[in-house]
Symmetry: C4
Subunit: 226 residues, 4 copies
Amino acid sequence: MSEEEVREDRTRRQLRTSRMEAFSDGVFTIAGTLLVIELAVPPRSTHLWDAVVEQWPSYLGYLVSFATIGAIWLAHSVITAYLDHASLWLMRVNLILMLTVAFLPFPTKLLAEYVRESESERVAATLYGVNLLLTSALLHLFWRYAVRHGLVRDDAAASDVQVLTRRLRPGLAAYVALIVLGLFVPVAAVVGYLAIAVYYLVPLGQARRQRRIHQAMAPHRDQGRK
Amino acid sequence: MSEEEVREDRTRRQLRTSRMEAFSDGVFTIAGTLLVIELAVPPRSTHLWDAVVEQWPSYLGYLVSFATIGAIWLAHSVITAYLDHASLWLMRVNLILMLTVAFLPFPTKLLAEYVRESESERVAATLYGVNLLLTSALLHLFWRYAVRHGLVRDDAAASDVQVLTRRLRPGLAAYVALIVLGLFVPVAAVVGYLAIAVYYLVPLGQARRQRRIHQAMAPHRDQGRK
Amino acid sequence: MSEEEVREDRTRRQLRTSRMEAFSDGVFTIAGTLLVIELAVPPRSTHLWDAVVEQWPSYLGYLVSFATIGAIWLAHSVITAYLDHASLWLMRVNLILMLTVAFLPFPTKLLAEYVRESESERVAATLYGVNLLLTSALLHLFWRYAVRHGLVRDDAAASDVQVLTRRLRPGLAAYVALIVLGLFVPVAAVVGYLAIAVYYLVPLGQARRQRRIHQAMAPHRDQGRK
Amino acid sequence: MSEEEVREDRTRRQLRTSRMEAFSDGVFTIAGTLLVIELAVPPRSTHLWDAVVEQWPSYLGYLVSFATIGAIWLAHSVITAYLDHASLWLMRVNLILMLTVAFLPFPTKLLAEYVRESESERVAATLYGVNLLLTSALLHLFWRYAVRHGLVRDDAAASDVQVLTRRLRPGLAAYVALIVLGLFVPVAAVVGYLAIAVYYLVPLGQARRQRRIHQAMAPHRDQGRK
């Protein structure tokens, strides 16, 4: 294959990855921003401050969902930065992942509405947790699929790939545990979901692994300084 | 034409294709994500679980519309990956295609609302099917226009072009058949629309054709392994 | 300036244009897709078909607004394809243009709601026309600013620039005329707004000018065939 | 490191910045465009013109929020044009910034609804001001973080970096002053927020600094003319 052909192939593949990323970024940002539409303006007769304070479950739901979407987006960005190219099957897995991301505003709305209704509160927290679990599991699958089918760049260090795989795993068990907890203490489960999102966003006590991913993302500048 | 000029032309053309893709990705993702806004939160007095189960037509509508949008997006991505550049007329066809994609949330809403109302159910299913048929026909036209007016890349194999054309065609007949079926058994038609979307997303039993398209998308890596 | 520096500059400028385009594409697509949210589902007691037919002003408004947004987007794409780079002032003009594009769903909603209310109908049609006029005038200003301040690529033929300027001008006078007409026959004005959008989208009887713009967009392939 | 490796690194880093920009542009445009959904159509019995005039607080809120989002977007674009690459921590700061941008439509809605209700008006204006202050502070932090951690391009002049830092600072003090003012004269504070946005968008009397930033954005063309 001539050099020209290689460059053409590269362009074509980058285009492909770029559209999958564009579609994903669209869904992430819209789902994240739509959450705010669901925040209801209190009826005008009430005193606004009391009404706003009264609405705390809505704000908590907004925060947890935005944090989760942000965490999934960050992981998705790290993953696609490792990708050499996409494939039709990877795009299909991505579409199902996006289905669950786009759906998240609905259980968020249910949770905000039903959080202080004894029976229904449990149903809402469970549906919310199941949606988060599915999203997380599909993100996991998205990464595993890319690794197994040779879509990861050749220059990605094997240790980086392992670190990323290890980082994505614990979330699944935590979500299952919190869904069970949510059947008894729904609000505690929701706070737990926030904790998972924060764990993904800011890996406390894992500075070393962190740095390795960081180097994989921007090696030129880091190496240039040593 | 000097080499520099050729590169300039390339940049310009890629920019053009890139804006058409950006506009399309925007419409696809917004239409797909807006669907979830239409899902109504049940009034607070009801038991949530019963109310959620009762809403199944809304979820079915969400699933069918998201799957269809995903399938059209995937086909649109494959098509634009074959394009060498866009033209003003291709962008016009694309705008009409986007009009029908952007409209889809409305019949989805009608369908979810009217699915168990004897007479109106048929109207809703018909409007929904007509919208899907138009979207599919315009996607077909989009591809045919690009092929006929020399917008497809020179290095795209003739067999690939034929395969893609053949893959897009059966959907049209299926939509017409389901619109007729929908006059008698609306819910069956809706399930059929889901089947068409899945058929486009996951080409069962067509692994061979599939692989050819796959190779056209990312030939470098595949060839490198042989 | 070394060749490396020139390339760096180019990258930087392309980045700038690319973000202005990304912001614009976002506003265009969201404004275009939000229009469909405003389409109200008829209350369940009515017969759906009658209710849908009764809603024709909403569909007309949707069509006119989507066509106008599409026409403005197409012109915006042609303009930015001629740009060598952006400037802070061009981005400011673009922001005001986007303000008017993003606002369009509101007068569309007013128009659909009030179209058969004698007095208010005129107010709605006037507000709608003023919004379209402002959008068109700002698009005109956007292009003029780019031409006057040397943001257009050096290799853009002077004749192309004149053709584009001439194409953008007549819309302004037509909008003013239709706003006046709308004070007497509001629906006729709305149909006129659709005609303007179609005129911009499909330049009837102007195949020659059209071809020139087309060649400016994708000269390589066209020249290669001669 | 070979030249090929350097190019690979560059591609990778640009990809990273590009996804952060894509996510940000998505949130900016959606938040800006969603504002218009909140504009309520007056009930049909009223005379439309009176009703529209009566709604002026909604339009003021729309204008202030869109102008602020536009100003933040413009500053964000200038900042990312200076960036050499992104880092995971910068993306986290950006996510929190985006959280506050995405939230803005909610206090805008509260303000529009409560602007003439004595007590609640103050609460709404304060919440609105606090949201703007947070957004501005996070934008400041975003830039400072990039400067301190060596993410700014090597070829960015030190004077440019100082100018940008100086330009971002005064907004914070102004927001704090206006939040206090808003406790007494809420509408005056809102007009002040508009003034800050305009100050960021159009730097009056600062043509010289302005020109320097301009040159940093597009030096090639400017130098070519001298």
